[in-house]
Symmetry: C2
Subunit: 428 residues, 2 copies
């Protein structure tokens, strides 16, 4: 019996050459970003920290955006990524459903974050920017940005949530190896950081505060812009290569998805998978798209839909989104990338319109199914990705009980080889 | 311009179905393994710790060995592995030579060790063995064995060199995650370990001592066998899938190799790449095959060719090999997989007959070219693999100076994502 090929691999020639903008597909138009004073934010208000090309993408009404040649070249280093049929996981679960995972862990940073990092670094370089600041939680985004900055010859400074930096010192090693500077947040470098340290010298840090620090620094220096790893419309735009590839790969496998499942922190991983399917869902195709978050940080499932700031200090515009409030202090769970009070305006709008669903899973289920994936597929998922995995497994078991197996697709947004402290905590 | 495909990927149908035994190709027959008393070791002497199938392979005079179906199935989880043209590394070096690396880092354990781990676990299970002991230095072999034991339903206990365990706690996390037990060596579990701790309670451990502990335990329990991750003939046999795939992949690229380069600790990585080429070299093809070791642990380049034991306590047979002596205490360099006093009898025989060459590289060069690989290809090599990388880069620069570019192939035996402490040490 010849070995079975479980990976659906597209040739380089099938790399998507455009991004898909879902904004025109939203059933209700998204409300504008607002200033704290209650005025709509104008594109020029953002010009201090973003290049014009990204501001244009943020509010674009065009569905199709060409990917510039240098970005295509950078993406082609690792894309298209494999879609993998997880047959051994199916056997371990004892289900007859077909489970596929889109393997974004093969990128230079080990996660999907590289998709937008390369694009954002390019557009900033094109605009003459030579220095970028950003924040990172788990370290995946910081790593992706460090590599993208290296690719396009830009200096990068990364504010890393202090608790994550302490849990994951090796993330800093990689970022440093790639030439980026890494500071623990709260830091003494910004007013926002100093204020937080005055209030609590032992503050663990939050993603919201790290964003404040990175934005504050970028706003104060003309050579420096700010880049964000998730939440914003242009970030989700860049991630739509994921869903476009999945569509082609499922077609090659002769499959149509019943479930599209991705974890949700700021929303870019989920939005990137689902955006290219929104028109299909609206036209009546029976696809359940589910964003998965931790029970301990339930922005979508327990948050309120309202205008709120993206950061804790209130430097960012107010955005219409599901939020737990900027003062929400997430517990120090290890899925650092999901420790965010807010959510993506696009994902929020899709949820509010009931185009998609949201679900929360427990840390215990995440670890249980992560170990099952490790034992069956020999893949150790990032703690973030284990949320998508856990819901996929739970749904597959539900379908089995109901006698209605189906096709489930989830995003393995990253590998867990740099997050083994999280696994260690469960073993001890 | 369409994106260039740098990876040469073979379909599953091209997975080698046989192993290539180089023993019959050696210009001079290898001397038999000897007992400490000076008698040739008989196959039955090994039966206490190895299954018959592996003993047969150890002394086989057949060139072609069929790979059993369950091993093929296990290998097909990740094989064939890609051969990658490192164009961006070539540009960074400024050379017109073509550099290829065989990417063994894509295995479940992140290194080439899985190739033989799967085979050894299978043959032991087939012989009714339910428990395996082994040693590990850097942790790559222990990880590979833990996964292979899981695959074939065997319990595994890993003696890990203490200094490596302290430098790389996350290797233990993975081995535990896969269900294996991990003990620091020297341990209190064996006579060899207790003796070492009596002599020096703070002993850092060596690969030789960890082997003694694992062998002692296996010899004392009928349900337990011992498995070794390198050195022995049957281990090199299992690794020949590497060289066989490289041959096919280079043919697809229209290339013939001028250099075949791999790092050398116990010899299996190098032997696996080069064995299928030995007949070609002997028949006059101009291929320079070079085994690379650290300057600080120079078994091949500064050792003596003589009979010596494979472990420090003298439990193993005496083997004809290049050795620094069993009392050699390697410095705590981070390439733990290369901290071994001896070498593979096959590689030693090839070196003595001048079929292959050996070279030593400095830690500074390893780090320098590892950073260049990270900056150009966005790949972080295992410290072991950085030795092969460094020599490849140095040779490519030499060829460039001489105006004679060529085709260089090295094995990326593993990735460095679990070895970031080594990089951290260079950064601090």
């Amino acid at each position: 019996m010849p070995p079975v090929e479980n990976k659906i691999i597209l040739p380089k020639s099938e790399l998507p050459t455009t991004w898909y903008n879902v904004l025109p597909d939203l059933p209700e138009p998204m409300g504008p970003y607002m200033t704290p004073g209650g005025q709509p934010v104008s594109p020029s208000d953002l010009a201090g920290i973003f290049p014009q090309a990204l501001i244009d993408q943020e509010v674009s009404t065009e569905r199709i955006h060409s990917i510039p040649e240098p970005v295509l070249e950078a993406l082609s280093i690792w894309r298209p990524t494999p879609l993998v049929r997880a047959r051994r996981l199916e056997q371990a679960l004892g289900v007859s459903s077909r489970i596929y995972y889109k393997d974004e862990s093969v990128s230079p940073s080990g996660s999907h974050k590289s998709n937008t990092a390369m694009a954002q670094a390019f557009f900033n370089r094109q605009a003459g920017i030579t220095r970028l600041t950003t924040e990172t939680g788990a370290g995946q985004w910081g790593t992706a940005l460090a590599i993208a900055a290296k690719q396009f010859g830009i200096t990068a400074r990364v504010y890393m949530v202090k608790v994550s930096l302490e849990q994951k010192p090796y993330r800093k090693v990689i970022m440093n190896l790639m030439g980026a500077e890494v500071l623990p947040s709260p830091s003494q470098e910004t007013q926002a950081g100093r204020r937080a340290l005055e209030e609590n010298p032992k503050a663990l840090g939050t993603l919201g505060l790290a964003i404040s620090e990175a934005v504050e620094e970028a706003a104060s220096r003309p050579d420096t812009n700010y880049v964000l790893g998730s939440v914003l419309n242009h970030v989700i735009l860049h991630q739509t290569v994921i869903g476009q590839e999945v569509k082609k790969q499922l077609a090659l496998a002769g499959e149509k998805p019943d479930f599209l499942i991705a974890c949700h922190g700021g929303g870019s991983n989920f939005g990137g998978l689902v955006s290219p399917y929104v028109k299909d869902i609206l036209s009546g195709q029976k696809i359940r798209a589910i964003a998965v978050e931790p029970e301990s940080c339930p922005s979508l499932t327990a948050g309120e839909f309202r205008y709120d700031a993206g950061d804790s200090a209130g430097f960012t515009p107010l955005m219409p989104m599901y939020t737990l409030g900027t003062s929400f202090q997430p517990p120090a769970i290890h899925a650092g990338g999901l420790r965010y009070h807010g959510s993506s305006p696009i994902v929020s709008a899709l949820l509010k319109s009931k185009v998609i669903e949201a679900a929360a899973v427990s840390a215990a289920d995440c670890f249980k199914f992560a170990q099952m994936l490790a034992w069956s597929e020999y893949v150790i998922p990032a703690p973030e990705s284990s949320h998508a995995l856990a819901l996929t497994c739970l749904k597959a078991l539900e379908l089995e009980s109901a006698g209605k197996p189906g096709c489930l697709v989830f995003t393995l947004s990253g590998h867990g080889l740099l997050d083994l402290a999280a696994y260690q905590a469960h073993q001890d």
